[in-house]
């Protein structure tokens, strides 16, 4: 496993995703991209869905990418990656290619939870050998902060604005990680930009196997969530430490948490720090905040139970074979 110093050296030496992009100040997505690419030691081919990352990194005739990179459309990055990977397998069988390649998809939550879900499901069912990384910033940010299936309940967005008849988004977010798990792929994890070492270790484990793997990485969006750009990392730390975004991995169906915040902080405090939830505090919507606390608590207990159930497996030779520490 590469440590932070090694990752930092690789990022500045290799510049797979270089400077000169036009992502917003404080955006977490470049951290995701750089950490993922610095954690992979084979040549890569990147497939990117339409979204913030694509638009802000490839304005013709310049590019932030020094690795092969392909963007086709919004909803089909998993299908495009299926084609690239199938081409690789066919050409390798024919003896036209000899070197190893790791295929990585980067897509936002809109391109994954919503419009790209069918293509993702099909690709996972077929088991293409690629790492799918969802950078989750909880909304359609590039198009002006609209709600997605990943937007938390009660968040104010431009399509779920607060008003006399509205307290923001009325639905809860979709549990994409569980949907992906239903495909029974060997490696699924949640990570976050506040925990770079954890993210890097997960990339290494995800790309070890010869199958599809999936990472759901919580990023931060200062303009979309309403906070100061310098606070991105602390913002995501709060999400992790409150249990709103548990860091976890599921290996061959076995669960474990990779962060155990003690004591677990209040979700309310995480909400309080973002303007998109400001109406809850202005209106003292205690009932809604209480129910969100309670929901987080229930989910946290469910995860602890799953971790307890699978503890033995992680200590077994099968679990140890994944190179886990701690």
């Amino acid at each position: 496993m590469a440590n932070l110093r090694t990752l930092a050296e690789r990022i500045s030496e290799e510049e797979s995703f270089g400077s000169g992009h036009s992502m917003c100040r404080g955006c977490g997505v470049p951290i995701v991209v750089r950490t993922v690419l610095a954690s992979i030691r084979t040549p890569v081919v990147v497939v990117n869905a339409t979204g913030c990352l694509e638009v802000a990194s490839t304005r013709y005739p310049v590019t932030a990418w020094s690795v092969p990179w392909l963007h086709v459309a919004f909803e089909n990055s998993a299908a495009v990656a299926s084609g690239v990977e199938s081409a690789y397998m066919a050409l390798r069988r024919k003896g036209a290619i000899h070197h190893d390649v790791t295929f990585v998809v980067f897509a936002g939550d809109g391109g994954t939870y919503d419009i790209g879900l069918q293509a993702l499901s099909g690709a996972l069912e077929r088991g293409h050998r690629f790492l799918y990384v969802c950078y989750d910033n909880e909304g359609y940010m590039n198009t002006g902060i609209q709600r997605s299936g990943a937007t938390p309940r009660a968040a104010s967005t431009t399509t779920t604005p607060v008003g006399s008849e509205s307290v923001g988004k009325s639905e809860s977010r979709k549990d994409l990680t569980e949907i992906v798990l239903a495909h029974h792929i060997p490696y699924v994890a949640q990570a976050a930009i506040s925990h770079v070492q954890d993210l890097s270790d997960k990339v290494e484990r995800a790309t070890k196997n010869q199958s599809a793997s999936f990472l759901n990485v919580l990023s931060a969006c200062p303009p979309g969530w309403g906070f100061e750009a310098q606070d991105s990392i602390t913002m995501i730390q709060r999400a992790v430490n409150s249990g709103f975004w548990p860091l976890l991995e599921v290996i061959d169906g076995h669960w474990r948490l990779t962060s155990h915040p003690e004591p677990r902080q209040s979700v309310t405090e995480w909400f309080r720090s973002q303007k998109r939830f400001a109406h809850l505090f202005a209106d003292h919507d205690v009932d809604l905040l209480d129910s969100l606390e309670e929901k987080t608590e229930t989910e946290w207990r469910r995860l602890l139970a799953l971790e307890e159930r699978d503890r033995e497996w992680f200590l077994s030779p099968a679990g140890q074979a994944w190179g886990l520490t701690g």
Binding site: T58, W65, P68, S82, S86, A87, A90, R126
Partner: protein, 400 residues
């Protein structure tokens, strides 16, 4: 073209009785693509079923990628073609409609994907039978479009289409349309070439800028107004070059196989005063009508359009300018205006009266009588009728 009844016994061995779908699959076996992303839909399924068996029997090394939708089939095809693999697929109707967004991108990203389209109408009402509505939906995608008359042509144009698509001056998708059921499911004698000849003719696929070639590249960047226009123009000009390249490739094909094709084919047009223009399998019906009218000393002829994109404007102008009256048969509609082939002929040909005929929607047969009726109308006046004539359709649905 179908001269099987005049061949010697020796030559007859090269003929096999195949449906259009099987003929396409046979071409696929010989071309041997690397990746074939596909999703089932009637009437395309005979193609993928026959090809899947060929792969299952070890007679093609192709990786058939059975994806979860046509949208993903075309998406995977773009990824595979740009990665450096020879990539083909097949679809029809709603499947092509679902792909359309990505067919535009395939053309823009210069992905030379060859696709057989078992032409079928679009819903609604839902109907599985043949017309050209699906192909016309792809009209402005930037793909090369061919419409064939019979199973032999379907076989031949898969082979020629591969060369055209992959030519370094072109690098565009090729859609080869064969009419649903009439061609996909009907068996007829097809002359099959030696495997070696086909392999040599298509050559190996070498995409000049492959993603997997080891050199970095950014594919599918976003273009602001100061660049989009020029990039789009390059793509349009590449499609125009496709017509020039296709002409050379049909000539090479004729030299090697003896089967000579024109991008636009004239039939008994030498001294024709009235002419029909049509695409696809029903061309044969019009031929019969022309023969029967010629037997009665009427100066009539037929023009069959094989290449719809790029549209061979000059060839059509040459063939049709001397004629007094033309009827353009469209097997699709453009509600609110004249149908696509008619518009093309109108924009290409000056001089003759030109009538618009819509026929065969949703798989209705075009009869010889229907065609003769149209020829008769054309003889009545030198004026454009300025109204669309629906051949073979009552104005009211029959009460059942």
């Amino acid at each position: 073209m179908m001269a099987w009844f005049t061949e010697s016994a020796e030559d007859l061995r090269r003929f096999r009785v195949l449906t259009g779908g099987q003929a396409v699959a046979e071409a696929l076996r010989q071309i041997d693509p690397d990746v074939f992303p596909v999703y089932p839909i009637t009437p395309q399924t005979p193609i993928i079923e026959a090809f899947a068996q060929i792969v299952a029997d070890g007679k093609s090394h192709a990786h058939i990628l059975t994806v979860e939708s046509e949208h993903s089939a075309m998406s995977a095809a773009v990824g595979a073609a740009l990665a450096g693999a020879r990539t083909m697929t097949a679809t029809a109707s709603q499947g092509l409609a679902y792909m359309i967004e990505i067919v535009y991108l395939a053309a823009s990203l210069r992905a030379p994907i060859v696709m057989a389209v078992g032409n079928r109408t679009l819903s609604g009402p839902i109907n599985i039978h043949g017309d050209h509505s699906d192909g016309m939906l792809a009209r402005d995608t930037g793909a090369i479009q061919i419409y064939v008359k019979n199973a032999q042509e379907a076989y031949d144009w898969m082979i020629m289409g591969t060369r055209i698509a992959e030519h370094p001056d072109v690098l565009l998708p090729v859609l080869m349309g064969l009419d649903g059921f009439t061609l996909t499911h009907s068996a007829e004698p097809v002359e099959i070439e030696e495997d070696g000849l086909v392999k040599e003719f298509v050559g190996s696929y070498e995409y000049p800028y492959a993603l997997l070639a080891g050199t970095a590249g950014t594919y599918g960047a976003f273009a602001m107004p100061e660049h989009y226009f020029e990039i789009k123009r390059q793509q349009i000009e590449a499609l125009d070059r496709g017509g020039v390249v296709a002409q050379r490739i049909v000539e090479d094909f004729a030299e090697r196989t003896g089967r000579a094709y024109d991008l636009v084919e004239g039939y008994r047009m030498e001294d024709a005063e009235r002419a029909m223009v049509i695409m696809g399998s029903q061309s044969g019906t019009v031929e019969e009508a022309v023969d029967s009218l010629r037997a009665r000393h009427q100066k009539v002829g037929l023009v069959t359009v094989r290449m719809f994109r790029p549209f061979p404007r000059q060839m059509l102008a040459r063939l049709l300018a001397p004629v007094q009256a033309v009827a353009v048969f469209d097997r699709s509609s453009t509600p609110g205006s004249f149908p696509p082939l008619y518009q093309e002929i109108r924009a290409s040909v000056n001089g003759p009266r030109i009538d618009s005929i819509i026929y065969g929607l949703g798989g209705r047969d075009l009869t010889i009588d229907n065609v003769i009726q149209v020829f008769d109308r054309l003889g009545q006046s030198a004026q454009d009728s300025n109204a669309i004539f629906y051949a073979g359709s009552d104005s009211r649905t029959k009460e059942g």
